[in-house]
């Protein structure tokens, strides 16, 4: 019984989140519409408590507490992602508060779904059993399907939800198929058992390779890597903007976290094979994502392709990790992904926060043209967007550069200087479409005919989110050391 208590204690942050989610959904019907803000604040409060517990849960970076007979672990690696995911969820709720009201879809269960998705993500990042990871993935995805279709009056939102659900279910099936093959090989779904089974069977067993590819395809869908990216533009465009931000940041980060754990801890014996596979995927991902983003006129769609491209950059770190020599050889590559995604979270959240609250007479202004002349009307808003776009393009002194820097450093260390050069050439391509947003904001005059020029509707919570995002982008751009050393320490438990 006491052992069971220790297990529950290890999962305390997750439990708090799940209980709060249920509480929010239960309280929603009896909360008057005017007081739904309270549900959001309740969720934020739970997140803050959860964040505190997560930070205090581990007293040394080498600690690795496993719970429920090796289904989940609490280690520094999981803690890194949990801190990131909880912060992202909190900032998303704060962005959603004004956004959902403006869109007239302020429903209480929305916050419940964010928390449920978050609990799924937290299970994903700490799971060391393929089925546990799968369950986390499904919990996250199912919540996101519902949130995508939240705007019932918009056909595009419903279309996006349906598309996301069908393709997501399909990809889950492929992932599950890969898991079942691995179970057949190892007789267990635990990553440690799979690793030893692969060690005894040898890496060139075709069944092992097929299982690896199927699992890679399943995760490829979740992180939106080419050629499994088809859902991304439609879903990002159709979903309510706050949901898009949550998907683009948290879902991607959690999927990458689980992806890394499965492939390093479970399938590490195959790293020569999967690093080649990811090399191909990362090249096509960053090429296609960056090139197709150029022709987009809708900014959410453009950022969807940009998020595809960013997945390609993060995958370079993965390739470098696979190429690494020895036990610690993969560390810089894996740490670079964590740095990259943490920085990516700040700039993407900031960009989506601006987009969501750029209102054009009650409607969301989501065309790039809607930003025309913003610098003249609202210089501060335009300047923030300038910083986010600069950072997404990876231009110093913003944090986006630091993210790219560490990824490319890992690539060069793994003898992949040509890949870094190629990726940087496509970073120049990406600068074109990011700078186009800057160009319409600063260098075009708004057409006099427009009756209600789009403007940013400020609110205290939005200001807080933007302040956090811009602080993250600037501070990590100028002084990345704390983040870098935190990532380097956290990744050490991954083996």
């Amino acid at each position: 019984m006491s052992a069971y208590g220790a297990d529950l204690l290890a999962l305390l942050p997750e439990l708090i989140i799940v209980v709060t989610a249920c509480l929010v959904i239960a309280l929603d019907p009896i909360t008057p519409a005017s007081r739904r803000d309270l549900l959001a604040w309740l969720s934020v409060g739970a997140l803050v408590i959860c964040l505190g517990i997560t930070i205090g849960q581990i007293n040394s970076v080498n600690a690795r507490v496993s719970a429920f007979s090796e289904l989940v672990v609490v280690d520094a690696y999981a803690r890194f992602w949990k801190i990131l995911l909880c912060s992202v969820a909190g900032l998303t709720i704060l962005t959603s508060l004004p956004y959902l009201k403006a869109e007239r879809i302020h429903l209480g269960e929305y916050y419940g779904f964010i928390l449920l998705a978050l609990s799924g993500m937290m299970v994903m990042v700490s799971g060391v059993d393929l089925l546990t990871i799968y369950l986390g993935t499904e919990l996250m995805s199912l919540s996101l399907y519902v949130m995508t279709g939240l705007n019932r009056s918009k056909p595009r939102s419903l279309e996006a939800a349906a598309k996301y659900f069908v393709l997501g279910a399909f990809s889950s099936g492929i992932l599950l198929y890969g898991i079942s093959l691995l179970y057949g090989l190892a007789g267990s779904t635990k990553l440690a058992s799979i690793a030893s089974a692969i060690g005894s069977r040898g890496a060139d067993d075709p069944l092992v390779l097929i299982a690896t590819i199927l699992v890679a395809v399943g995760f490829g869908f979740k992180i939106a890597a080419v050629p499994f990216h088809m859902w991304t533009p439609d879903v990002y465009q159709g979903a309510p903007t706050s949901v898009t931000a949550f998907m683009a940041v948290a879902a991607k980060a959690a999927s990458f976290a689980a992806f890394m754990r499965v492939f390093v801890e479970g399938l590490g014996g195959l790293k020569a094979d999967w690093s080649l596979l990811f090399l191909l995927i990362s090249v096509v991902t960053l090429v296609l994502g960056n090139v197709v983003a150029i022709v987009q006129t809708n900014i959410k769609r453009m950022l969807a392709y940009s998020s595809i491209a960013h997945a390609g950059y993060a995958l370079i770190g993965f390739v470098a990790a696979g190429r690494g020599i020895g036990l610690s050889g993969g560390t810089p590559g894996l740490a670079s992904i964590m740095i990259y995604l943490a920085i990516y979270s700040f700039m993407t959240l900031g960009a989506f926060a601006v987009i969501g609250m750029l209102r054009k007479g009650g409607v969301e202004g989501e065309e790039i043209e809607d930003f025309t002349g913003l610098a003249k009307r609202q210089p501060l808003a335009a300047f923030l967007m300038l910083i986010f776009m600069t950072s997404l393009a990876g231009i110093p002194p913003t944090a986006g550069f630091i993210g790219k820097f560490y990824v490319f450093m890992a690539a060069v260390e793994a003898d992949l200087a040509w890949l870094a050069a190629l990726a940087l050439v496509f970073a120049v391509v990406s600068a074109y479409y990011y700078m186009r947003v800057v160009m319409v904001m600063y260098m075009r005059d708004p057409s006099p005919s427009s009756v209600a020029p789009p403007h940013l509707v400020a609110s205290p919570t939005l200001s807080f989110v933007l302040a956090c995002a811009v602080a993250g982008v600037i501070l990590f751009g100028l002084y990345p050391n704390p983040l870098v050393s935190f990532a380097l320490q956290s990744v050490l438990t991954l083996k």
């Binding site: 210089p379 231009i395 450093m409 060069v412 200087a417 870094a420 050069a421 700078m435």
Partner: protein, 408 residues
């Protein structure tokens, strides 16, 4: 959006950075403010010019980042520029690194095939943008060659010398020819910049004391003279709202002070003895003479062509006869304009007549650069310092130059 200017002043950090990543951060950080400067306040075609400038220079510099990272792993896991300059790298690696450096620096200078962004950017940029572009940003490229390519990659620098000299001479002659054909004053000066920066890269890559000292001096001179010329164009543009030579004819009568200063800057730009550019170009040519006499002859053509396009411009703009229907009321220079131009004129003559304070200051650094070059497998020959050469020539020494030994 005057916030662009403080942001731009961060470029200064670039020139003192001793950490390669810090250098790169500031190297790239100037892109955004310059992009805004051209794109927000520029001329009619500013959007095209701004994005062309931005993408061109960004594309050049991304390969620099890869080269920096490669150097980090080959040079003992450090970004310290001084430590990296001490290292020796395999010759084949040096070739690749040199090409990557070249992509970044040559675009910024700009050297011959990569110069096309410059006229567009200069013509569309506001006056302040043009001055910053010509006087500071272009120097980032030549500084890069001097700071990184030469000391870190001596073997590659040596083997690429013929190519670099050829590109420099093409830039000198081609830029001058293009300047000859321009009807827009700003474009004329932009192409003259290409030609003058050709002298700087020429001096750097003949790899001897005279050449490099001349190149560094010419970097300063170009900033003073071309900056002055761009200011002059900006002043006349404010009055006539045209930069075309045809619209600004015969300014000597209405604006005598302006005409005087414009003539001084033009004469300085064409390298008249007594002005700053003469000293720089002369040293570069002396250095080139030690490397190759043919190259010197070809480069000297650039000086003749510079005289042609600048004097022809002066003939029309200052002394031409304005068409009768075109008689605008032009006021001469005001206090503010005088205050910006007169210090530049002082510098023109100071460096032209007494360059020693500058030359002696750069002397030790250039000697060190040459010394670090001597790690190359085929060491460049040591030759008498430029200071001695200038002094001996200024005092009329009869010692023939050719006796000082030829290159390589």
């Amino acid at each position: 959006m005057t916030s662009s200017f403080p942001w731009l002043s961060l470029i200064l950090v670039l020139f003192v950075a001793l950490d390669f990543v810090l250098f790169y951060v500031f190297w790239e950080a100037m892109l955004i403010p310059m992009y805004l400067l051209i794109g927000v306040w520029g001329g009619p075609n500013r959007l095209y010019a701004a994005i062309k400038f931005f993408l061109y220079t960004l594309a050049g510099s991304v390969l620099l980042l890869v080269a920096i990272l490669v150097l980090y792993f080959y040079g003992g896991h450090t970004f310290d520029i001084l430590a990296l300059s001490q290292g020796t790298y395999p010759a084949s690696l040096q070739m690749w690194l040199f090409l990557a450096f070249f992509a970044a620096f040559a675009v910024k200078v700009p050297m011959f095939p990569f110069h096309t962004w410059l006229p567009d950017a200069h013509v569309e940029a506001p006056t302040a943008g043009s001055v910053i572009l010509a006087s500071i940003l272009l120097k980032m490229g030549t500084y890069g060659f001097l700071r990184f390519s030469l000391p870190m990659l001596p073997d590659a620098s040596l083997s690429f010398t013929p190519l670099m000299v050829a590109l420099s001479i093409i830039a000198i002659i081609y830029g001058a020819y293009m300047a000859l054909a321009q009807v827009d004053l700003k474009k004329l000066i932009a192409y003259s910049s290409v030609s003058h920066m050709g002298f700087v890269t020429l001096g750097l890559f003949v790899l001897n004391q005279q050449g490099i000292e001349g190149a560094v001096l010419q970097m300063v001179n170009h900033g003073i003279t071309t900056g002055g010329l761009f200011l002059c164009v900006g002043i006349i543009y404010e009055r006539t709202h045209s930069r075309l030579i045809a619209d600004n004819v015969g300014l000597a009568t209405p604006m005598p002070q302006y005409a005087t200063l414009l003539v001084i800057f033009a004469l300085s730009s064409l390298g008249l003895p007594g002005t700053n550019s003469f000293v720089g170009e002369f040293l570069v040519l002396v250095g080139t003479f030690l490397w190759s006499k043919v190259a010197t002859a070809l480069a000297s053509l650039g000086i003749i062509l510079a005289a042609t396009y600048l004097l022809w411009m002066i003939q029309r703009v200052v002394f031409g006869v304005p068409s009768p229907h075109h008689l605008p009321k032009l006021s001469d220079l005001n206090q503010r304009e005088l205050a910006t131009l007169v210090p530049l004129v002082v510098l023109v003559f100071w460096i032209g007549l007494y360059p020693n304070p500058l030359v002696s200051r750069m002397h030790q650094s250039v000697t060190n650069t040459i010394a670090s070059m001597s790690r190359a497998k085929v060491a460049p020959t040591a030759s008498p310092s430029a200071e001695e050469t200038t002094e001996s020539l200024l005092v009329g020494s009869r010692e023939p130059l050719t006796a000082q030994g030829s290159s390589r």
